[in-house]
């Protein structure tokens, strides 16, 4: 039976992985998600893939949002997905935002990323997508 109540499926870890320090977007998303009733954990800049996965585990997160603007996504995202799998955390839904060339999106989705949000995405679109996703026990 799925968790009922408004905290079900609403824990989000937001992460900046790698060296990129541009955090305007992720800070705005954090505020927007909080306003949208989500519990947001943002551990700050320069997270290693290992540290991110650890946080996801410790925080029992339903979602992981990655902000990547430096072009390193095709190295970092597979690494994180691999580590999540190793940790038995495949059910965590992954969202990616930032600067992701169109050409790379199909590959990311095929890897297991739930959705890629480009620049110009309204906050409501992100919140709606997350609210519509009923979680791993949907059915």
């Amino acid at each position: 039976m799925t968790k009922l109540g408004d905290t079900a499926n609403k824990r989000v870890v937001l992460a900046k992985v790698g060296l990129d320090g541009h955090d305007r977007g992720i800070q705005i998303v954090a505020r927007g998600l909080r306003d949208g009733g989500f519990q947001v954990i943002y551990p700050g800049l320069w997270q290693t893939p290992e540290a991110v996965v650890r946080t996801v585990m410790d925080e029992d997160a339903d979602w992981l949002g990655l902000s990547l603007l430096s072009g390193a996504h095709m190295t970092l995202v597979p690494r994180i997905l691999g580590l999540l799998k190793e940790a038995g955390l495949e059910q965590v839904r992954i969202l990616v935002g930032g600067i992701i060339p169109e050409d790379d999106i199909p590959a990311l989705l095929a890897m297991g990323v739930s959705r890629v949000f480009g620049p110009g995405t309204p906050l409501s679109e992100i919140v709606d997508h997350m609210n519509q996703d009923l979680g791993p026990n949907r059915g």
Partner: protein, 555 residues
């Protein structure tokens, strides 16, 4: 909110009253009339709004205190702004090629973009650099890379800007040591190193060491260059990044100038004379969408700087009072939908910078939301400046917007808002305290969020994004950074390490640690380290051993 326009004897004129009636009875658009910074703007400005100024007062002339209309008597009639496109990607050889490409197309100065590992003081072979080498700028690990970067470029003829902050003193040492090895007279070197660590703590987050030791490193470069490289700008006090992080124009203005004042205070504490270093302090502002707000911002910047340097810091040389700035069109305004529209945005933004009297300008390329600029896109961006300079006529007269009721009113308002912020930073305990408490970061984040709300609610329109949308986009030919860049750069680094004396490297790094511990100027030790072929990462690690590493508080 409508400003009254008073006649000379203080009464509202018949014509004004009539206008007011007609205005009030006409339908107004339901979208609020605000600047991009969300400042409300009146429908009309009149002589009653422009601050009174004597017809022939010194204030109204370019090249005269407080330089509201421009820092030189002739401005663009004497010499155009420098067209200086920020460039860098891949290996030093690739960036050298792009530099030559741009110089061939008649840009008049160079500006260097470094990759993230270099910006963060890491070598290309550091595990944390994986996937990041050469992607956002050029990879520089040792002085050898500096040599390749400027190969075939006459450093006595071309001015060079380098955008780097946390490891600025290291890169400056590499640049200087390379110039010396090539027989270039340091007195002939012209250029700028950004070296503005304070704004990293406010906005860009490319810091390594804690705030106070970081500022000391900035001051080392200023002190050293004053003597050794007299035509060099040892710091480019920046508002660009603060604005990119989402601040308002007034915050950009205030926080940048406040940073400048903090550096001055530190230099004075060290025993430097104000007129010794102030003339070489330079600035870097954003050129955003709202044209008049930007022009007012630049004019207000010149006025505040001149007043503060003369009246508060008692500088006696005019060169100390003159605020010189580089401008860059707003990266955060570029969109990935209908990217050709970015050409238009950049055109308007460049116009703002020029109407505002910038000394140097970079125009963004239309494809920069997607990748680093392609050759075609950067050519168009450069040509945008050339069209502006040669086809529009805006350079024919100095400060063409001077005297505009609107612009003079905005200039004064911008100045007042900045002064208000100076007070608030004081009350917050000064610059370092304001950084540590997160006061400035919070101001910026709040502005960023407020703007996003306006966009999401469509009270602020972005063409092609939340209005006037198109369907399928025609794909652009984008610059691709090859995977091989990282391997190639790591191989290069390996070769340099093999050929150098590791004993000498150890010695110079020990010296760096020693000097850092003693609190002396690090530049001589860094120059030695550069010559020994020590790497950026090695030097930064040596410094971190003494200065520690910093992680800012997260709200």
């Amino acid at each position: 909110m409508i400003q009254a326009a008073n006649t000379a004897d203080g009464r509202e004129s018949e014509a004004f009253l009539r206008w007011k009636r007609e205005w009030e009875s006409s339908a107004e658009s339901d979208r609020p009339a605000t600047t991009v910074s969300l400042e409300p703007i009146a429908p009309l400005y009149t002589s009653g709004d422009a601050p009174s100024q004597g017809k022939d007062s010194a204030e109204s002339f370019p090249g005269q205190f407080p330089y509201k209309r421009g820092i030189h008597a002739s401005m663009y009639r004497g010499r155009l702004w420098t067209m200086r496109q920020f460039a860098g990607f891949g290996t030093p050889a690739q960036t050298n090629q792009r530099f030559r490409f741009l110089l061939e197309r008649k840009q008049t100065g160079l500006s260097t973009a470094f990759d993230l590992p270099t910006l963060m003081g890491l070598d290309s072979d550091d595990p944390r650099s994986l996937g990041e080498v050469g992607r956002l700028g050029v990879a520089v690990d040792t002085i050898e890379d500096m040599a390749t970067l400027f190969d075939g470029i006459d450093l006595e003829k071309v001015s060079v800007s380098m955008t780097i902050n946390a490891p600025a003193m290291v890169i400056m040492a590499f640049f200087l040591a390379n110039a010396q090895e090539k027989g270039v007279d340091p007195a002939q070197l012209r250029g700028t190193i950004q070296n503005d660590i304070l704004k990293e703590f406010h906005a860009q987050n490319e810091y390594v060491f804690p705030p106070e030791p970081s500022v000391k490193l900035v001051t080392d470069v200023i002190e050293y260059c004053c003597e050794a490289v007299p035509q060099w700008n040892p710091v480019s006090i920046s508002g660009y990044h603060i604005r990119e992080a989402g601040s308002t124009a007034a915050q950009e203005l205030a926080f940048t100038l406040a940073d400048g004042f903090h550096y001055i205070d530190e230099c004075l504490k060290r025993g430097l004379e104000i007129d010794q270093f102030a003339p070489r302090l330079s600035f870097f502002f954003n050129a955003h969408n709202d044209l008049f707000e930007e022009v007012a911002k630049y004019r207000a910047a010149r006025v505040i700087w001149a007043e503060t340097l003369r009246n508060q810091y008692k500088a006696t040389q005019e060169a100390s009072w003159k605020l010189r700035f580089h401008a860059q069109t707003a990266g955060c305004s570029l969109q990935d939908r209908l990217p050709e529209l970015n050409l238009v945005r950049v055109g308007y933004q460049a116009l703002a910078a020029v109407l505002g009297g910038c000394q140097s300008l970079h125009t963004n390329s239309m494809d920069e939301t997607l990748a680093l600029p392609s050759e075609h896109a950067v050519t168009l961006a450069l040509r945008t400046q050339q069209v502006l300079a040669f086809e529009t006529g805006v350079t024919n007269t100095i400060d063409p917007l001077g005297g505009s009721y609107f612009v003079e009113s905005l200039t004064q308002s911008m100045r007042n808002q900045a002064l208000d912020y100076f007070d608030r930073i004081e009350k917050a305990g000064g610059m370092i305290a304001a950084i540590e408490s997160g006061y400035l970061r919070n101001e910026i984040a709040s502005s960023a969020f407020a703007y996003q709300r306006e966009v999401d609610a469509r009270r602020k329109i972005i063409v092609g994004v939340n209005a006037f949308e198109e369907g399928e986009a025609k794909p652009l030919e984008l610059l691709k950074i090859e995977e091989s860049v990282e391997t190639e750069q790591c191989e290069r680094l390996k070769r340099v390490k093999k050929l150098r004396s590791n004993e000498e490297t150890r010695r110079v790094l020990d010296q760096v640690r020693k000097v850092a511990s003693a609190g002396e100027n690090l530049m001589p030790a860094l120059l030695e380290a550069a010559r020994a072929r020590a790497t950026v990462g090695e030097i930064m690690n040596a410094l971190a051993d003494v200065l520690g590493r910093y992680r800012s508080c997260m709200q």
